[in-house]
Amino acid sequence: MIEPAVDIQLAKEHGLTEEEFELICQKLGRVPNFTELGIFSVMWSEHCSYKNSIALLKTLPREGGRLLVGAGEENAGLVDIGDGLAVAFKIESHNHPSAVEPYQGAATGVGGILRDIFTMGARPIAVLNSLRFGSLKDPRTRFLFEHVVEGIADYGNCFGVPTVGGEVFFDDSYTDNPLVNAMAIGIVQKDRTASATAKGKGNPVMIVGSSTGRDGIHGATFASEEISEESESKRPSVQVGDPFTEKLLLEATLEIIKNDWIIGIQDMGAAGISCSTSEMSAKGDSGMFINLDKVPLREEGMSAYEIMLSESQERMLVVTKKEFEQNVKDTFLKWDLNCEYIGHVTDDKLITIFQNGEKQVEIAPYDLVLGGGAPVYHRETKEPEYLKELREFNALDLPEPECISEAFAQVFSSPNIVSKRWVYEQYDSMVRTNTIVGPGCDASVIYIKGTNKAISATTDCNGRYVYLNPYEGTKIAVAEAARNIVCSGAVPLAITNCLNFGNPYKPEMYWNFQKAVEGMGDACRFFDTPVTGGNVSFYNESPINAVYPTPVIGMIGLIEDIENITTSYFKNEGDYIFILGEDRDEIGGSEYLKIVHGLVKGDSPKMDMQIEKDLHTLVLELIGSKVINSAHDISEGGLACALAECCILNLDHPIGAELKIPIKQRADFTFFSESQSRIIVSVSPEDRNSFEEIAARSKVAFFAAGRTGGNSLKINDQFDFSTKRLIEIYYNTISKRMNVTI
């Protein structure tokens, strides 16, 4: 193959700007050759370099609490949970691949995030997913939804990690750009972690796992553009997943790390060998000599360019301690995996790549990487014009529904509210026998065997709130995640984030991004949940629209004593129902406003972080004192939907309730307001006094709203729904919609 001559035109075709091309020439002191251009283009792509986000991300709180490894230092963040154990966790997007090839896009998203966890030496113990799609009325959305779920299921199920929770949200803004964010959690002995580094001149560099093929070339660049009609033609940029090989890779990798045979290890995700060689070298302040002739290939005749840019999945780059090279090889052989010596570590601080006896590449790794020579941009911002118009909204102008029961039936059957059982029953949520609370509750709870502890995990973000108010909306995402964690009986520990936004070169979009990062930073500082890392996904837009700005928060919490695990649903007949927190009749951005009135308007609910924190402290004290039987947070769909969920979340034992709720302005506001910082709890009659004593000491407002019991949910004589009907709506709506023939 004759390689094309490198000029500015070719650089632009690789997604580089004129200035970036000049900078490359300057750094190299010459014009790059074709392969080098390819390497720079992927390493400096938005996806790998974070060039348009890193300046803002650095303002986030990235240390403190129980953090052992902070954001950006390793493949995933690491948090100390005591007993000599640490938890590694991270969330990542696979939006663009999933938009054009939903099954493989979603599957490889799961595969990628799992590798990030086990390259740290941690065994994955749980996966969660945060998904966004258009309306289920749209046949293509149903197609994407069905195959994204199938892709996640097939990968995680075969790999053998339980998929324990997450969220699915439907809104038209995601029609062309579904969001597929996967979060993985792993556990590791604190002193047995691995690092993504290359050190020690002469130490062997090995490529392990799958062979390298032509799949996924330029995946990172593809993920750094807007979705368009041409995106379909980029389907070859989507990688193909092999969960079976990944399972073998997991076992072999954990063995070599546990035995302390290696210096460093990094998985090959975006930008393949280019990224792993340069990042590991840069981190170890070293260089590498690599002979591409040794790389196991799927097909003959692959050029250096193709090998360096391939994103074939289930591969790792390992730098072994010289004396253990054979042990490492034997381990991979035992698991029937490739393990090839492809070069060694050097001290010249250069990546030197040979193929066919000729030098193909010579680049200083520092010049390629984030935090090194990769460009950093501060983009222009401008408050979006549309916000003024959206905010011009007075909820009192809305016609009041004639029948509140009818309005409830509409809101409660929204796909955003109902159970995602159709989704999570396709996921193996129990393998490894640690799942104490699986999908369907506020947060999922995973037991840590050999201890008395459990980890609680959740993902949260209401993109509609963030669209209406990026700063407040993102604070809510953090606060709601923490509230969910608290409802399960856990203390919030730390977050990972997946920032799904539009084109960063559009100032209005970038203003949203900036405000969201500010909101997240403020909330994470307030709740003492540092940011352990995550992922930015820009360009989630099509010629028609951008997605709602969607900064997904993945949070974990720690339950020190498994006795304190709490679930959302009512436990006994005759318990008292208390509502903690205050309603402020906030209808802006609510599910009710969208479903019943067809509007996405107003301001997001307000987030008073002190009130929120007081609520968390109170609920944890109530749980610790064993005076509440359930705790469920009030979120989308408001009080009425949350109460209905309390009645029927335990399908084996539904319990009705009868309540009197004071109406301040209008019944529809009281029933469906999405005011934050509210939790429904249930209390046994014998614990009522203790409950009131503890609650009265706190600053949190609370009132007795009614009692559990019977076969229906009754509110204020206005409203009477049998649990049977609630169950029918809640558990069958999505499956009914999905069985529509396309």
Partner: protein, 231 residues
């Protein structure tokens, strides 16, 4: 006296640790992993073929696993009366190996299903069920290919020989079509061989054994086995 369990590890087994944990930690018996490339069953009293996706299940579930070296020994062990339990993928492997009759097809819904189901113990004439007091157990399933199929003659034989051990049912124990999660003929969830020393079942008793996880119906089967073998 402690029993010794051997848990076979195929490439792609992913419930091997769960079976090991139940037998070793919860039941306080001896337990050891058996590597698929070896032939030594290490004097195990009971062999467990665990769930998972052996060899990726890429050709057909269980189809490749049955050719692995360890299976030669497992087949000999089973044919000489040794007790073998195949759970989920393990059940699929037992069928492929010809140790049990019939096949497991893709679920009727074509989708993977993970949830709790109820099982009617149809036969208490096996070591795993002889000492179980309950008639209905709540156990989890997690499979994409659990739809039991066999020709009419085989079904009749299974029935006549009391080889159907578990059937999907409702909470009350009624075996009806609504309780059938995957389309299995006669709601079959688990069967034994004529000699009654091999049990294959799609549901996962090892997942319902730890009281921390809230359900211990599954451990009843292991307790029954231990009682049966140690008495």
């Amino acid at each position: 006296m402690k029993l010794k369990f051997g848990v076979v590890v195929f490439p792609g087994s992913n419930c091997d640790h769960d079976a090991y944990y139940v037998t070793k930690k919860l039941l306080d018996q001896e337990s050891e992993f058996l590597w698929h490339k070896e032939k030594d069953l290490k004097n195990s009293d009971v062999i467990i073929l665990p769930g998972g996706f052996s060899y990726g299940d890429y050709l057909r579930t269980g189809a490749i696993a049955r050719f692995s070296p360890i299976m030669e020994s497992v087949i000999k062990f089973a044919n000489s009366g040794g007790i073998v339990l195949g759970i989920c993928n393990g059940f699929q492997i037992l069928l492929e190996a010809g140790l049990l009759p019939g096949v497991l097809l893709k679920n009727e819904s074509t989708k993977f299903i993970c949830k709790d189901v109820f099982l009617k113990i149809q036969s208490k004439n096996t070591s795993f069920t002889a000492f179980v007091e309950k008639d209905v157990l709540q156990i989890s399933i997690a499979h994409g290919d659990g739809n039991y199929f066999a020709d009419e003659k085989t079904l009749a034989e299974l029935k006549n020989n009391d080889q159907i051990v578990f059937q999907y049912c409702n909470r009350k124990g009624d075996v009806d079509s609504e309780s059938n999660p995957n389309g299995s003929l006669m709601n079959i969830a688990g069967i034994t061989n004529k000699e009654r020393n091999i049990l294959g079942m799609m549901p996962h008793p090892e997942r319902c054994s730890d009281k921390i996880l809230g359900n211990t119906d599954g451990i009843e089967l292991f307790n029954s086995l231990i009682k049966y073998l140690t008495n």
